[in-house]
Subunit: 205 residues, 2 copies
């Protein structure tokens, strides 16, 4: 049903992409039943925006931690499920855009890279971890300009503009964040447009 | 019982600190029943090392994610519970050492800082967020030299050496990691000894 709805939304209504949550009723994005959906996404060639669902971790129930910790963690879980669960291997042309700068993903890449080297269970990857990261775009809504710079220059990630508008946890001055990151004009231009256009992301006419 | 055991371990056996997990049977470190334990820690003036417990999030059950995502998240939850739950306010002299560079804490500080500004529920803090961070030491076991540099120079965090020895996810060449971070000799010396000694951390004679 989701695949058919996507065909209708893109083919008939002309939408330029689709959003999914980081989990579906507690199931990960690596659920084999989603294969028909990813196949349709690949055929339609539209980007997938991933937004966190409410964390299932009971320790997030206080102090707004469902947002402050749960949301960024949810996005990292979804990214890991797509990479380690073989979804990227099966659908290498699908482009995923991650909310909130990928959540905690950028912070975890060093740990994941070490894990791939030493944990036999993670030998399921068919390519180097950084190859898989080419399937992802990280938005700039991280409230930490230095991290945006690290994501571009040291982690080599593809960053695009993010605002999380109209939510209170959004970044309503994304240009200020980008300028404060210390990136140069060429890098800012890539974030502001080139990263998405270079890979042919469909936008509504 | 834990408080009495700590008195015995430090007073009689001469141990220099104590380790706790990031949660106690699903309860956070902000549990009011732990107040007597924190009070004893403060009186004995020993550092508390916090190590992740197994994540309660069912989405971590595959691909070793209980370690790759769950562990760093657990540490961030514990840090948040101590800060937002009032433990640091009540026991401001207690020093906490966080495993794995504080887990995802350094990545989340921008988001937490924004949250404190816009979410009324988080008005419980009595001081600026960065004041609370003086109660924490972040170890260097993060498998990402650039992040160590950001933690010191841009986030202003107190970093100490971490190895996670003897585990496979450890960093058995911590000096190499620190040198690769690009920090200068003065900064490296602070990480390697001065940060802990400057605040009078007790070490076994």
């Amino acid at each position: 049903m989701a695949a058919r709805e996507l065909e209708y939304a893109v083919g008939t209504l002309g939408l330029g992409g689709v959003q999914v949550l980081s989990q579906i009723n507690g199931g990960g994005l690596d659920d084999p039943r989603l294969a028909i959906f990813w196949k349709t996404v690949a055929e339609l060639d539209v980007p997938v925006f991933i937004h966190p669902a409410n964390s299932l971790d009971p320790l997030t129930r206080r102090y707004y931690l469902v947002n402050l910790v749960g949301n960024p963690t949810e996005t990292a879980q979804a990214t890991a499920h797509l990479i380690f669960g073989g979804v990227i291997d099966r659908f290498p042309t699908v482009r995923f855009v991650l909310a909130h700068a990928g959540g905690t993903t950028p912070r975890l890449l060093g740990r994941w890279g070490h894990g791939v080297e030493v944990i036999p269970e993670l030998g399921i990857l068919t390519r180097p971890l950084k190859d898989y990261l080419r399937s992802f775009y990280f938005d700039s809504c991280v409230h930490d300009p230095a991290l945006v710079r690290v994501m571009v220059r040291e982690l080599g990630l593809q960053v695009v503009v993010g605002t999380d508008y109209p939510f209170d946890m959004g970044d309503l001055e994304p240009r200020s964040t980008l300028v404060a990151s210390g990136l140069d004009e060429r890098e800012l231009a890539a974030i502001e447009a080139a990263n998405l256009f270079a890979t042919g992301t469909n936008l509504p006419a």
